[in-house]
């Protein structure tokens, strides 16, 4: 993807930029505006700046990059926009344009380098051939943390299991007369932090007569890289991922994180510009399901598999799962089927928790402020079990709950289902 291609992504959004009528409705829902009350922090300011970039009215400065960085890409503004302006896409495109001119900031470079070279993250399964250009020039190997989200040293980092999901899951799990054959995409956080989510996926799917394939070459979906503004690397990662998952030839790709799901469903077709790759990406996009969608629409949850869990739970809706993939009702509907489980809804389930992947790298204090609102909301529900569907949200929630000495546990939807199923039968083994 050459430099003309990078700017053309923003140019293609010109209609959206013009459509913004600057009404300011975004102010009402932007979690960052609520904290900063600053016009460059909110969507209409950024849209104005993106327009200025296209017209050549501003220089590519560090300050400009900071303004585009100051966004959770939570899409609350998009959902509330009377004109339907795709602010998240404008921000992503603008980040790429600015990054191309002045480079990525150091923590972003380190994180992108880590995620785009799976060899550095796990035992070296796939060659480190994906990263070129932008990142490689600077060679920030020394900056690489154990895993990139832990860059902020003040953060309460969840205890790492010390092994990767790739070491504990098999390449494939067959069942007699499978109803479907599914390729499981785990994503970084499930691979390296909350491996229990991966095991739960296998348990639950096998329990439903679904054959599971877990391609071990899989790597970071690339969304964090794309969101950071490195479109070129993201495109390389997309191409690789599409190749890996097309080769499996499964009926469906199942994801356990809204952002990973968006990569397969939305970002890969956007990143791959034509030809065979694009065709395959589109095919995968149609077959990608969040685990909760899969258990609702494709292989419906079997209630007789569920054992009782006397628990009150609440549900935090990840931005990229809800507004991103349109998965709003499914997780709660699935969990409501668990005997004894009681749902105590948040007042604002879809308000961003402030985690937002890399956002906290640079804006830790701000992301904690956004989290405060979520924690207050959680505290008033009376539930002790917080269920969500995104690893990044979970890291952030765990961090905040630990900080405030709140007793709540965070689980993925599929983990709670697996626990309920274990009440009836033992695991299916892996």
């Amino acid at each position: 993807m050459g430099s003309g291609a990078i700017i053309s992504v923003l140019q293609a959004l010109e209609e959206d930029i013009i459509k913004c009528m600057k009404c300011g409705n975004c102010q009402a829902v932007c979690p960052l505006y609520a904290e900063t009350r600053s016009e460059p922090a909110v969507a209409r300011g950024k849209v104005r700046l993106a327009g200025a970039v296209l017209k050549g009215e501003v220089e590519y400065t560090q300050r400009l990059a900071e303004h585009f960085d100051l966004c959770l890409t939570c899409m609350a503004c998009v959902a509330n926009c009377p004109c339907g302006v795709r602010v998240n896409e404008i921000v992503m495109a603008a980040r790429a344009v600015v990054a191309e001119k002045i480079g990525l900031s150091m923590p972003k470079r380190a994180a992108v380098a880590g995620l785009s070279r799976p060899a550095l993250l796990d035992a070296g399964i796939r060659a480190a051939s994906l990263t070129q250009g932008l990142l490689f020039k600077t060679g920030e190997r020394g900056m690489l943390p154990r895993f990139p989200i832990g860059l902020e040293m003040r953060r309460v980092v969840p205890r790492l299991p010390g092994y990767s999901l790739k070491e504990i899951l098999k390449e494939g799990y067959s069942v007699p007369a499978p109803v479907k054959r599914v390729a499981f995409f785990a994503g970084c956080v499930t691979c390296y932090v909350y491996t229990g989510v991966g095991r739960a996926v296998v348990d639950v799917l096998l329990g439903h007569g679904v054959e599971v394939v877990f391609p071990k070459e899989q790597h970071c979906c690339g969304a964090p890289v794309l969101l950071a503004g490195d479109r070129k690397t993201a495109a390389a990662m997309a191409r690789s991922q599409v190749e890996i998952f097309s080769a499996v030839g499964a009926d469906a790709v199942v994801t356990v994180c809204g952002t990973c799901g968006e990569s397969f469903r939305h970002y890969y077709p956007q990143l791959l510009d034509g030809g065979k790759d694009l065709q395959r990406a589109k095919l995968l996009a149609e077959r990608t399901f969040d685990i909760t969608e899969f258990l609702t629409d494709v292989a419906p949850l079997k209630k007789d598999l569920l054992g009782p869990l006397e628990e009150t739970f609440t549900y935090h809706e990840p931005c990229h799962l809800g507004r991103g993939l349109g998965v709003y009702e499914q997780p709660v509907r699935l969990l409501a089927a668990v005997p004894g489980a009681e749902y105590a809804p948040l007042k604002q389930p879809g308000r961003c928790c402030g985690g937002a992947g890399f956002f906290g790298l640079k804006h830790y204090d701000l992301s904690l402020k956004v989290l405060q609102t979520k924690l207050r909301d959680i505290a008033t529900t009376g539930a002790h079990q917080v269920v969500t569907g995104c690893g990044s949200c979970r890291i952030h929630l765990d961090d905040g709950l630990a900080r405030h000495r709140m007793p709540h546990q965070v689980l993925h939807t599929v983990e709670m289902l697996a626990r309920s199923m274990r009440e009836v039968s033992r695991g299916w083994g892996y």
Partner: protein, 466 residues
């Protein structure tokens, strides 16, 4: 004086974190929610924390002849906060405390940066409401809303912002602070300066404190949707309802262009062949509400309308979804949305609606009209593309005709958006030269060097600053 040395002076008073000078930031303060008005970045944006700091800023501005543009959330629709001549944008967003909620006197005291909805949330536990209800209730500040005298959906029964402001603290152009009015219901001490500053659009002083009147929240409400095959029937139903001694809290209208756009956008089962729909809500004491709803129903039937009564909260929500979707749905059709607020006496609604259709046709423009039929405040919304110069030319001529027509029918240029930048040149049409002269005298008495929001409201007059 250079922007840099000006910023240096301001930093001394306000601290570095309250003075913004980066060009990238200033661009984001170069506009507000008004369409089709010029934009210009300020030299500096400041965020004072208290009245004393506001005074200091105005003193510096006065000493060096720098224009000052007070700003809340920047959601007004008249260009009222555009810093046309550079200078200082005085953002009031950090003065955002609710100072007092006083249920005994049915008042609250707030700083200007409080968002309207925040005030409503604060008074709700007392069973009270602050009735002004502009479309921007979740974003606009109290200061901005008082300065613009915003209206909204409940104007017919509950009035507009000026009907609820009983006291104001104001910093004058020379930096002195003054207070007018207070918590009492009655107050005839001196000129009614509370009313003068309310709706003054930041041209006479900077509002730093606001005392508002609250009312008990209505206990019950009934919501109805009426559809009509003829515009005249809808218009006559509006006057018919009021003539029957029922004052609905909300009495909204949408024309055919709007209905089609809304239905296309939100798919809520609106009759797209209807010429107009009315959305009606009566509220108050349950028994009265019941009787008023009956009256509304029979008036609608007498004017050949089909009525749908919301049976529960869900159906009520659906009806208001239709109304809330009006602007978004229209805005989706074309890149640029020019939203006007010409207002006529209620009895002239039908004539005005017909005139709008005729103007749209003559200038070959798409105009969707919706608005507050009950108080005669319509929102003809012209859908266009700012890049199409020839069409914009026609838009401007159509807008002029809309204003002429509204005035001819005994109406006004602006029901609730204000004059700002967008309508200064039309002001004399309504006020005449003598009326305009009064305004100019008031302005020059309170702001002799024309430093407060120059270029707004009052036509002509530019400020020298270096």
């Amino acid at each position: 004086m250079s922007a840099k040395s000006l910023a240096g002076l301001l930093v001394k008073i306000l601290g570095r974190e309250n003075v913004i000078t980066a060009r990238e930031d200033l661009l984001c303060y170069s506009f507000d929610a008004a369409q089709d008005v010029p934009a210009a970045p300020p030299a500096v944006v400041v965020t004072p924390r208290d009245t004393a700091q506001v005074s200091e800023v105005l003193r510096i501005a006065g000493r060096y002849g720098v224009p000052v543009y007070p700003r809340g959330s920047g959601t007004n629709l008249s260009g009222g906060t555009v810093p046309l001549q550079g200078g200082i944008v005085l953002s009031m967003l950090k003065m955002n405390r609710i100072l007092d909620v006083d249920p005994d006197n049915l008042v609250a005291v707030v700083e200007p940066g409080v968002i309207i909805q925040e005030l409503n949330n604060a008074v709700a536990p007392y069973g009270l409401i602050y009735p002004p209800d502009p479309g921007t209730v979740t974003t606009a500040t109290m200061g901005g809303s008082v300065a613009e005298c915003s209206g909204g959906l409940r104007g017919l029964k509950y009035g507009v912002t000026k009907d609820y402001i009983t006291g104001l603290d104001v910093v004058l152009a020379d930096g002195r602070a003054a207070s007018f009015g207070g918590k009492t219901v009655k107050n005839v001490t001196g000129y009614d300066l509370v009313k003068l500053f309310t709706g003054s659009e930041g041209t006479l002083g900077v509002i730093t404190g606001i005392t508002v009147r609250l009312i008990p929240a209505p206990e019950a409400r009934k919501t109805m949707l009426a559809t009509f095959d003829r515009l005249a029937d809808a218009g006559n139903a509006v006057t018919g309802i009021v003539k029957s001694k029922v004052i609905p809290a909300t009495l909204e209208i949408m024309d055919q262009v709007t209905i089609s756009a809304v239905e296309n956008f939100a798919k809520i089962g609106l009759p797209t062949q209807a010429r107009a729909v009315l959305l009606i809500e009566v509220d108050g004491i349950p028994e009265v509400v019941e009787r008023e709803a009956q009256t509304v129903m029979s008036v609608v039937a007498n004017h050949h309308g089909q009525l749908r009564l919301a049976g529960d909260e869900r159906e009520r929500y659906d009806i208001w979804t239709a109304r809330r979707a009006a602007l978004p749905a229209l805005a989706q059709l074309k890149p640029t949305t020019v939203l006007e607020d010409a207002t006529v006496p209620r009895s002239q609604i039908t004539i005005m609606l017909e005139a709008l259709e005729e103007i749209a046709q003559r200038y070959n423009l798409t105009i969707g009209t919706f608005g507050h039929a009950g108080d005669g405040n319509l929102h003809p919304t012209i859908l266009t593309d700012e890049r199409d110069r020839e069409e914009m030319e026609r838009v401007h001529r159509a807008v002029e005709e809309i204003f002429r027509k509204a005035l001819e029918l005994g109406g006004t240029l602006s029901g609730e958006h204000g004059i700002g930048l967008a309508k200064t040149r039309f002001l004399e049409w309504e006020l005449g030269s003598a009326g305009l002269d009064v305004m100019k005298k008031v302005k020059s008495a309170l702001d002799p060097h024309n430093l407060l929001n120059p270029g707004k409201m009052i036509p002509g007059g530019s400020v020298q600053h270096g």
